[in-house]
Subunit: 387 residues, 2 copies
């Protein structure tokens, strides 16, 4: 196997890149997936080549349902899950079918920048709600929902990344989730939880998902193989009540395109027939926990006083707050010549005036030996700019 | 290789099914694609597993551009083409980015039912325009466009299937294309040509595409591997002016998901490195021409007077018109117990009151020996209902 010449979009050569939430390039189980591919060609080539069932490859659905029921003690049934072409497909489809142009969406401030972009492409109205370390601030959310409701513009959806949030690394507490669900029920908006980092947990118990807490009512949950296996496969899943899954199966894109990629789905169904995925997840947890620890200890060692950061208990992101004397744009301009890039805070906010003293560090893609050096260089730059 | 137990959505066991525009199940080049897959694992596994470039896999883009330039004497450049996750992805994205909710779309009456569904999901306004054997009727289109324009609701897009149209099998003439382009320029709407059947041409020359006639200005063109290779791969392409392709590359879904499936794209790039695709297309042309000929001669032999049909010079669809005494719903109800299913006309119209005396026969999926028998049974049923 040789590496291809051209790097994926967004990866800059010869830079220490904290910008991208990409998996560790050395983590992909090439041999296991090659074996699964060969087996799929042998046993189910026709299913790989034809249009697939609209809900997705049947064995793949069954195996993901089994995995989730086992891992979280859930009671999911076959009709609760639909295969997606990655979480992108889910976010886009849910917005198209359940929100639409002009429909209101509540979201965490800050949140994942590309979903802001998707919601904007649909012409939906965005209502950011500030967060604290426990998740979205309930009082702020209640105020916004009450105001919108009194104006006759009740929001249709709350988009959340409940575990190891992108970009902050924060996990919403169980109490907060329950309070939000209560508000969602009272004001009749859907909770869409984008839960792609759940399996990358380092320590402690995760709160039950919104889906579990609500027994599925009014909640849609997205999962993905991009963070726990390989993003190039472009496969994920959507969990919801059967009638909601039905709506998604009967929408125009699903009717036209058939189920999510049948070729790759057949291969993944084969791969999931063993415990290889679980083992891969265990390896990734160790891998990313090690990187987080290196990043945290480098931050503690090198960062000047006045810089603060979150301490994620899983996932791939850290969120830094700079002292008021150093804007993130200054830091970006000054650290790039030193070979370090990262994502500036404002991109994660609906209002780009927010986040000017924040940055996101993704530690999954940076090799362990570069993590410390990258953070040292960043710290040095902050200090230079503070003088 | 064994066939999987469960049939793809929409396929009914033990029925002669004229319903589905699915490829012949025996036509897939299993061995060649398995070879390409193995080679991709050897030479570019990393590219298969990571997020891909937003425009799509670079070698795949180059090879499709080369194929199109060679086949049609075009002058496409690399920046004119973006890889899609099937034509569905293209139709949905173009509607999202360039039309949106409330935006007007002109379309052929009848047209492909699932695109009607996608446009409706976006809340776009649909303006069907009647066709004759040469394509959409220009006078009718002009009247509609002028009326909409005078109301301040100029349409944003014309969606057309120019070659071997779904469902009629008709090909829009060159003159008609030029007249429509002239109208599009005057009233500033985009022409979206869904050209997935182009390569399945049996005889005669095809008119140049809208894209070629307009030198790309104001035209977007969709192509797909679903009809010429295998729908389960879920890959196609979008051709447009570089700035339009740029807009698509920079939209939310492309930013979030990366390029169209990198895993399958790498395999296809490998497969397209030889002349196997062209050879597969040649075989499919022979295969489907033979089926069309069987279908046409069975129609001539068995159908009672008063039934009319189109004579497609390519593609996979025939369009029948029944005598006014036999509605398609009656025919559907009476032919199902005999083991024959097809698609009723109204599904292909925006207004389901249209097409009540029409049906679409897809001849690609029905085995040659069943084609004649299926049409004989249909003809017998029409005769029984006409009495």
């Amino acid at each position: 196997m040789t590496h291809r010449n051209s790097l994926p979009q967004g990866i800059e050569p010869n830079m220490i890149s904290f910008s991208l939430g990409h998996p560790d390039r050395t983590s992909f189980p090439f041999a296991d997936l090659e074996t699964a591919t060969m087996a799929a060609f042998k046993s189910q080539a026709l299913a790989m080549f034809e249009y697939g069932p609209q809900q997705g490859e049947k064995r793949l659905i069954t195996r993901i349902v089994d995995h989730l029921n086992r891992a979280e003690d859930l009671n999911l049934k076959y009709e609760n899950l639909m295969i997606l072409s990655g979480s992108t497909h889910g976010v886009d489809m849910v917005c198209r079918l359940f929100v639409g142009a002009g429909g209101g969406i509540l979201l965490e401030a800050p949140t994942y920048k590309d979903t802001i972009h998707i919601f904007r492409d649909h012409g939906s109205k965005l209502h950011p709600v500030p967060m604290d370390e426990k998740g979205i601030i309930l009082e702020a959310m209640t105020d916004i929902v009450e105001r919108l409701s009194s104006e006759g513009n009740s929001p249709k959806l709350f988009y959340t990344i409940p575990n190891f949030q992108n970009p902050t690394g924060r996990t919403t507490t169980k109490d907060r989730r329950e309070e939000i669900l209560d508000l969602a029920r009272r004001y009749d908006f859907i909770v869409l939880e984008d839960d792609v980092y759940r399996d990358i947990a380092f320590e402690g118990d995760l709160p039950p998902s919104y889906f579990a807490l609500a027994d599925g009512h009014g909640v849609l949950r997205i999962g993905s193989f991009s963070k726990t296996l390989a993003p190039g496969l472009r496969l994920g899943w959507l969990i919801g009540e059967p009638e909601v899954i039905d709506t998604c199966m009967n929408c125009g894109t699903t009717q036209m395109g058939g189920g999510a990629n049948p070729f790759v789905s057949s291969i993944l169904a084969q791969y999931l027939g063993s415990d290889k995925w679980e083992k891969n997840i265990s390896r990734l947890r160790e891998n990313y926990r090690n990187r987080r620890d290196i990043a945290l200890s480098a931050l503690e060692r090198f960062m000047p006083t006045g810089v603060h950061w979150t301490v994620p208990s899983g996932g791939i992101f850290l969120w830094l707050t700079l002292p008021p004397s150093v804007s993130v744009y200054e830091l970006q301009a000054a650290s790039r010549p030193k070979g370090v890039v990262f994502s500036a805070g404002p991109g994660f906010y609906v209002d780009p005036d927010d986040g000017k003293f924040n940055l996101r560090l993704a530690y999954s893609f940076v090799a362990p030996d570069e993590l410390e050096e990258g953070i040292r260089l960043l710290a040095e730059t902050v200090e230079e700019l503070s003088r």
